[in-house]
Symmetry: D2
Subunit: 293 residues, 4 copies
């Protein structure tokens, strides 16, 4: 379709969950899970993101994940954020040997009242540390601070943005001010909308448990089939409605089992696995959704 | 285009500004303004909305506006919200004689801690008062309360929604739970996105000063031209960036003059007109935007 | 007590409820209610405040309330805010003949994105309109905008502040920047704290239904009896916990009946009276609280 | 003073800064700093809190701080929060050998949408892990979640709370529901208010750079001298106004030098030290404040 050349390049990026068994990472389950979702339409894997419990992993664990992911997928983005710059820099350097597509980082989290100058300096230090392109991972609900388009433009060296944000105009603003960088939205509820407005793609947890649906949304948008794209998005919204009250990050492990049919272990406390009653409730909700996909 | 039948019915609704001169409404300027924007693509006029300073008008003023609007446009939605139910009911009844497309209302504003039961009762009382379809006008930033899709479903008698909300998934949720009602988004920053995801249209202030651009976005979306639609949306975003710091509701009067070339009076205090320095600043910003439309 | 001279001047101000019967104000019930609470320790009555449903009253109704209040209490503050400056000015002028202690106003409500310049101009216009002292009534949860201490200082002509705000440091900031003006906090949950930090008093709904308790808190604070003051405050907090989920402004009418033993009518829709089941529930909660006062 | 027995037991707790030099902790400077502020009125030191950059420290660094603090102060609270439960448990056990007054923890931070059940389980697991009393460190602005009084009551095993919160009624609610536990507020702007309403004390960054002033506020409150207490609090507010725009956590290092006269190193990136221009600006502001203490 002549008018939509950019849509053919829209990426589906999966922030892959990290499978634990007894507090240790199961790297084999991790690689197998990646292979499955890549087969079903995922283009890029995002290692040690929030869904992957990145900020709760040690540096050694992150490195092991990167190695496993690189063996299972061609395109990898590595999330290196740390409250110790030294560690973030070390991880960014480490990433070079794996030919990652990009190194990404949220701004320093937890600490309120960090000045814009300090945030800018953090990203500039990361840029200086690695030859890999640096992506901003903006996630105000997790970090308590918003690194918007004007600040990114001022920082200067950022080559892409994952904006986990319910306001799509906020995400589009990066594209408006910096047409040359890659811009992704990270909200499961905005897969269809992100693709419909021509973002460069999405980075969504749902790509773990329903990569087929995310992929089908992309196809429907490319074909101009708004009704189908919206119907699929609404099914994903139903999954969110059913799982968020239980704690979404714990629920994703269960959703992979329920939708994809295999065990990817469990999260690690303080992200506790769902309890039996919660699992039953979620399974019942999923059953009703499955019939309509 | 076979896959997009719904798009041909997308409405552009203008929340028309109310022109004052010396504290009195200039009804002739009002009707002339409506005729101009209808000619340029506006389908429906929204009378006494927020841009029209509705909550700051007397009941008599609202009635006069309705009469003038009905003579100038075929399709009219009449906003009747009042902190006195008696007055809102009177206005809703009055609307019947003009064959309005709908009567709309924000929930009771100003007062915090109004229970959901009280909000539901307000809308049910309005439904009972008029034979015209009732639309919810949801605008949390103005009213301090969010009347979301589950509550609207429970209320039962609401036939449409204008959701002035930066979160498009919030707007889509009305459509998800009630596919049979009309659903519009009211954010100037989401014109393109609202159309791209197949909402029933938009209710946007920009239709006062740039009806041609809003109309062109609709055409571009219908033609699948994402790049053009986005480029036009970005120009409107630039207008917002330039005018919001000055007080957007006052700025709209000036923007009509700058873009459409005629005088539509001024707002009424406490919505004060822009000062000379503000007008100059805004005019300079508009000049740069105009060249690129 | 030598160290606490200011405490002897702490005012208890009641934002008096407006009693309706069949949609009309019962001025006799209003005056009787005022006389009762003044007898029980209220120093000043605040006419047409939020608890009095001020923004939902007509100008004529507000004038009638002012007249009735002036006959029943010596010290009166008159709330004149209106979305039409002309009306606010008219009310402020009208107040002069009653020798009010002050005229008060919230900033223009409902409309988001009103610039600081416009807010300042609104208050300056009110100052110019009347010889009565002007008080700011700051209530961000109702108006959507915060008129903080630096802006009040810049406005220049404001002689007092009622800050309905859960953050007491925010209220104290007015005192810090302008030691010469009267500063009151308006949160029912902060009666004790406001008095303990030496504000000029409080403007609280609870003075309608528990003037004795508010008065006793003032006495306990003056006597240095922290434990007693806190115990009484906690009982008021229990009332808030029981009534807020039902809609606090409607509940206050019922609380007057339950605690003071007389009927002060009901609110006016869209502030609907409590339903029978809600009244029963509230009465049960009050019963348990009464025993401990 | 008979009416205020509880006030004599109000604690001043310092969340001690962690001095870095070249990325390594200077334990000697740490111990010396503690000794100085204890001499000037600090009762308890809070190790590895937010001001101490706790979430940015390794487990080994936290242990070293605990050891140093225990040698320099009699009463120590140890903050053990970690996004790996295993590590938090290890630190809580480690604390036993030092006879700490309590072990404290924020709820799991960073991750949005953690259910109340998961938060409760985290604190119960910590309680089970150590014989030391467990304190909740509630800091919604940093963690993105509020662990309020009802949830703490339900958890059951929590013996104290540090509530870093601008709403003092929120802090008092813990005392209202659980009179038997220790309750502290953690806002620098509420030192006076917290003491005036009879909380068990405060945990404030200002105790690092102005322990004398914090101590003097306590004395003034005990003596019933509201004016003096408020005057001192206002001076601390001026320090906050001057330092927060620069990044408060970085500024505290500089404030210690400016007010106490000795060097306590610098923070560690991504909490970058202030730049020269920022230091000059802060020093000028402090100079003006110093004259009035």
């Amino acid at each position: 379709m002549a008018g939509q050349p950019s849509r053919s390049r829209m990426d589906i990026i999966a922030p892959v969950i990290t499978p634990f068994r007894g507090g240790r990472i199961d790297l084999e389950a991790y690689a197998d899970h990646i292979k499955n979702i890549v087969r079903k339409g995922v283009d890029v894997v995002f290692v040690a993101g929030t869904t992957g419990l990145g900020p709760a992993l040690t540096a050694e664990e992150k490195k092991a994940l990167l190695e496993a992911a690189s063996s299972a997928a061609k395109r990898v983005i590595f999330h290196v954020a740390s409250l110790r710059l030294e560690e973030a820099v070390e991880l960014a350097k480490y990433a070079e040997r794996f030919g990652v597509e990009a190194v990404a980082s949220v701004p320093p989290y937890y600490f309120p009242r960090i000045s814009e100058r300090q945030i800018a300096r953090y990203f500039r230090d990361l840029c200086a540390a690695t030859s890999a392109p640096l992506y901003l991972y903006n996630y105000p609900a997790a970090t308590g601070k918003d690194v918007g388009a004007p600040l990114v433009k001022e920082i200067g060296c950022i080559r892409g943005v994952k904006d986990t944000n319910e306001e799509i105009a906020h995400t589009l603003a990066y594209k408006r001010l910096m047409p040359e960088i890659r811009v992704y939205n990270g909200a499961d509820s905005l897969i269809f909308a992100s693709m419909a407005v021509g973002l460069d793609g999405v980075v969504v947890s749902a790509a773990n448990y329903l990569p087929e649906a995310v992929s089908a949304i992309r196809e429907a948008v490319a074909a101009g089939d708004v009704d189908k794209a919206r119907r699929l998005q609404f099914l994903i919204n139903e999954v969110l409605d059913a799982s968020r009250p239980l704690g979404y990050f714990a629920a994703v492990y269960e959703l992979v089992k329920l939708f994809q049919g295999y065990d990817v272990g469990e999260p690690r406390p303080p992200i506790y696995p769902l309890e039996a009653a919660e699992r039953t409730k979620l399974a019942a909700a999923v059953e009703k959704i499955k019939e309509r996909i």
